[in-house]
């Protein structure tokens, strides 16, 4: 794996870390396409990372999919997939080590017969396989130098999302405290304070986290039967 590479408008990151952050940024911001500059090493290399989820040991496949953080877009491709230089060749792009590629999620626009057919599972990094679809940016349509990758990264990693728990008539108070302690690792005092807030005010903000972590917390709380949602703060 190559060492530190630069990315347009972004911090200097290792390729692995960069892959994750770009993935998270795109995922978190709902951007369907963006441009990044990939080095030779990256295009033929691997980014693989698995994060655990907040307060949970050992991410399950569901968690990985939910977090969208198990990325191995190149290493895990099927053996019969074309290499990046072949893809570029098909697309008529002269090879060089540092070209602008558009990461896209629109299969219709990729439109190259030599690329493998896209399955439903290919859609998005949520499925953990990060089957990115690359198409070269046409001259003049190179969008995105202006897409502010740094801003997207910032958004993806900022704790701008609130997790709310709403009151319901059935869940027991002791049970709710237990769930807060188990899922959110709150101490007894904090867990009880939030439980009372839910009970008396109808809801409580129990966490402010990144979007990815907030999603996981919502999943966990709902797994215990609590009525949890998330909102952008």
């Amino acid at each position: 794996m190559s060492q530190v590479e630069s990315m347009r408008g972004a911090k200097i990151l290792t390729p692995r870390r960069r892959g994750i952050e770009v993935a998270v940024a795109l995922r978190a911001t709902g951007v369907s396409s963006s441009s990044v500059t990939l080095s030779e090493g990256e295009r033929n290399g691997c980014f693989t990372e698995t994060f655990g989820r907040a307060g949970v040991e050992g991410p399950s496949p569901t968690n990985q999919r939910a977090m969208g953080l198990k990325l191995s877009p190149f290493c895990e491709r099927p053996a019969d997939w074309p290499r990046m230089d072949q893809v570029e060749s098909v697309m008529g792009i002269p090879g060089n080590s540092n070209k602008v590629l558009r990461l896209r999620s629109d299969p219709a626009a990729s439109g190259k017969e030599n690329l493998p057919p896209r399955s439903a599972q290919d859609d998005g990094i949520l499925n953990g396989d990060a089957s990115w679809h690359f198409a070269a940016a046409k001259p003049g349509t190179e969008t995105s130098p202006d897409i502010d990758v740094e801003e997207k990264l910032k958004e993806a990693f900022s704790r701008g999302w609130s997790v709310l728990v709403w009151n319901d008539p059935v869940n027991l108070m002791d049970y709710v405290v237990y769930v807060f302690k188990t899922v959110l690792k709150m101490d007894e005092k904090d867990a009880s304070r939030h439980m009372w807030e839910v009970h008396q005010k109808g809801k409580s903000v129990v966490a402010r986290e990144t979007r990815e972590k907030s999603e996981l917390i919502v999943h966990r709380l709902r797994g215990f039967g609590l009525n949890a949602t998330m909102e952008q703060a």
Binding site: R27, A28, T29, G30, T62, R65, A66, G124, L126, L164, W166, D168, P169, V170, N171, L172, M173, D174, Y175, V177, Y178, K181, T182, E188, K189, A191, S192, R193, M195, E215, V218, H219, R222, G223, F224, G225, T229, M230, E231, Q232
Partner: protein, 173 residues
């Protein structure tokens, strides 16, 4: 019912014959429910299993539609995982030589799932029967509708099991 820690991360639950009969019936019904097609469930139960990622209108442009789909998928998987655990416990009950009391030893992780599953049943009953805060606080004899009365009885009973397993949790200075 009693619950005791027999070693770090290992618990022994003990049920009288009547409690075990009740629990097995509950688990059997829950297992059936876990196998049901969500699309065929009444809307309230469907909503429970699909989950709601956000109540705020206008969050959809932030890409929460995708998050909503992931939540629904994760909850579908959760049902399958819980069904598998539940079937193990029912099998253990079938094979048990002693059922009065019926004793079962479970790990900390299984205990967590067991409590959550009992709570699933409570939530599902409440949603199906339209149980309100007033129903939950009322004396059983004050609930005129038989179906709701039975639901509240079962919800209370399962709540008791949960509390026995968890012990007091609320901070009391």
């Amino acid at each position: 019912m009693t619950s005791e820690a027999i070693s770090p991360g290992q618990w022994r639950l003990s049920f009288s014959e009547a409690e075990a009969d009740f629990l097995v019936a509950v688990l059997a019904r829950l297992g059936k429910h876990y196998q049901e097609d969500i699309a065929r469930m009444p809307p309230v139960l469907r909503a429970y299993w699909q989950g709601t990622i956000s109540r705020r209108q206008g969050d959809a442009p932030n890409g929460l539609k995708e998050s909503q789909e992931v939540l629904a998928e994760a909850r579908a998987e959760l049902r399958a995982e819980r069904l598998s655990l539940l079937e193990n416990w029912l099998r253990e009950y079938e094979l048990a030589e002693e059922r009065n009391p019926w004793q079962v030893e479970i790990s900390g992780a299984e205990r967590e799932e067991f409590v959550a599953m009992l709570n699933d049943r409570r939530m599902l009953l409440a949603l199906e029967s339209g149980i309100t805060e007033e129903d939950m606080e009322a004396d059983l004899s004050q609930i005129a509708h038989e179906g709701r009365r039975e639901s509240v009885w079962e919800i209370d009973r399962l709540g008791y099991f949960i509390l026995v397993m968890l012990g007091p949790q609320i901070y009391r200075p």
